[in-house]
């Protein structure tokens, strides 16, 4: 999904470049520069917001948190609203790059479940509005894999060699190994990395495909039978065919929380807060869920979902899974990248 989005982003950039020449007053109260993940904000929501408020939305997209950061800190463009994941929001808050939200302008925050607020990335709930919540878990094609898969250790076994797709993200890959040896996924130090190295050295040669853009493709095409993927991808697979079962690993899984936040240098924070309040309305939030079946943190919106939507185990996992959010790990990210690059080259 993200690669097509890059093309989309280039297109939007071109449009933005042209419109910046023709409309000098783009930072008037009548426009909102939204910089968000590709394939994550339905056009019906953007159009509805513009119809109601008269505020035009410039929707520019990115495919990774780091790509967003790169453009944000380059300062080439001022954005009113960004959509960071929890660990990126934490880093931005630490660096004082976000603007506090005036909750009197966003009263609909009350619709968001208490379990999704005051988390480690924004302990005082000052800067972020939860957008969607998801997890990274295991997908099994039950028509091809008979064994009972409970966790990472069951996926990375010799009989599954060449039958596994995983998302191509060193931070995620390392977190699975950390969870397997009983460590917190945020406990990234040279010592813990040395501890998981032998495990990853065994695991990575078993992987057939690394794909963050659309890991569901290799599963749907029958090229692989197991995967560790975003829950939204798993939900779409399940919708396509219920033989694709989503399992949250017993060792613990990453729960990501994507939020809306306002950059400190935003030109139009009022429009940004109006947008936040708009998407928190149950009937609007419901539209987002229909298109992107992640876990909706808006409990009032959940009441409007169909029984089938709520029964999708990838969107609303049953039971009480162990979920951990990611924290900002600072420069350790370089070591993670190196470790996974080394092991991939060696496998």
């Amino acid at each position: 999904m993200q690669r097509t989005a890059i093309l989309g982003a280039i297109g939007l950039l071109a449009v933005a470049a042209v419109s910046s020449c023709t409309t000098p007053a783009r930072h008037s109260p009548q426009s909102l520069n939204l910089f968000a993940w590709s394939e994550y904000v339905p056009w019906s929501v953007i159009d509805g917001f513009t119809r109601e408020t008269g505020i035009a939305v410039n929707y520019e997209t990115y495919a990774s948190n780091e790509e967003m950061l790169a453009k944000l800190i380059s300062g080439a463009q001022r954005y009113d609203l960004i959509q960071p994941s929890e660990y990126t929001a934490e880093a931005l808050i630490k660096e004082r790059r976000l603007m506090p939200i005036d909750w009197s302008k966003v009263p609909n925050i009350r619709n968001v479940g208490a379990q999704y607020q005051h988390l480690r990335h924004d302990p005082d709930q000052q800067y972020t509005v939860p957008w969607m919540v998801g997890s990274v878990g295991i997908v099994v094609n039950t028509a091809k894999v008979a064994d009972d898969i409970k966790g990472y250790a069951d996926v990375f076994r010799e009989p599954h060699k060449g039958r596994i797709v995983v998302i191509n993200d060193p931070r995620e890959i390392v977190s699975w190994a950390l969870a397997t040896i009983g460590k917190d996924p945020n406990d990234v130090t040279p010592e813990t990395l040395a501890q998981i190295e032998p495990l990853l050295r065994r695991w990575l040669p078993l992987v057939k495909v690394y794909d963050s853009d659309s890991p569901k493709t290799a599963l749907l095409n029958g090229d692989v039978d197991l995967g560790i993927v975003w829950s939204g991808e798993a939900a779409l697979l399940y919708r396509e065919n219920p033989r694709f079962r989503y399992i949250l690993p017993a060792e613990g899984a990453h729960q990501f929380i994507d939020s809306l936040a306002i950059p400190a240098n935003a030109a139009n924070p009022d429009a940004a807060m109006a947008f936040m309040n708009y998407i928190l309305r149950p009937e609007v939030s419901r539209l987002i869920s229909a298109e992107f079946p992640y876990t909706n943190p808006n409990l009032e919106a959940r009441k409007l979902l169909s029984a089938a939507e709520l029964a999708n185990p990838a969107s609303y996992p049953p039971g009480d899974p162990r979920l951990v959010t990611f924290g900002d790990i600072g420069p350790s990210a370089v070591q993670i990248d190196k470790l996974v690059t080394d092991l991939k080259a060696a496998s």
Binding site: R3, L7, E95, K208, D223, K344, A345
Partner: protein, 305 residues
Amino acid sequence: MRTTATAFAAPVGPSRPPTPTAWLLIAPLVLWVAVFVVAPTLIMLVYSVSTRGTLGGVVFGFTLENYAALLDRTYLYIIVRSIGFAAITTAICLLAAYPAAYRIGRAAERWRHRLLMLVMIPFWTSFLIRTYAWVTILKNEGPLNGLLVHYGLIGEPLELLYTSGAVVLGLVYTFLPFMILPIYASVEKLDPALVEAALDLGAAPLRAFWKVIVPLTAPGIRAGVLLVFIPALGIYAVNDILGGGRVDMIGNIIENQFKGTARNWPFGSALAVVLILAFALAFWLTSAQEAAEHRGAEEPAVTVP
């Protein structure tokens, strides 16, 4: 009669200093090169000696540690492997493109343009979409495996997608036109009388090919080799889509430093500088060869009795 064919291909005009009008005419090009080539390269050089910023970006300074980090088994392996893939791609492209370009170049006038059009038609579709089309063709339950199994040529579907072979196939497919077009341009200029003369004077077809046709089309071959090798060395999308991203190419490593977990712009810049040096080396090697041939042209290389 003592000469080689290349002498015909290298007319040397009188050199004069450019007039003010000439400067005016090339000013837009100079400006373009300054803004879009020189400036970004300088920025990259500066970044490559800086240190990593917290959120990405760089903290300016002077350090060589980003270059030191390159002297590492993994990165050297990845660089060598990337060069290998680019070289194999270039070789296959050359072998496949030469006969095609030659045939198109020697075709009758009214056919030539239609055939050239066929070479260029794929460009009407996005490169990514064409690459994803190969995923559909090569996948386990795809049409290629389906056909082979249907006709009993294989019992089980072959593992075609997500292999090194698929990566090379994708690279050759992507870059073939870049080899065909410059060779075609050289072939078109080739004077058939020279080939006939060689044959009339007793050269066997193979000898005529090596001694007359190849030297006369060498400029096209060199241009094609550069046009294929250089982008093939930096491209990473084909590796991701058709290779399953299992082994990184140098392009992947650079991408990861900017858009991935590491957020290490200085190191990414250092890698990019090395890649530019590799390009410069490839360019220098081909032009050195060209210069050598020109020098050789003044010597009696072929003596046709």
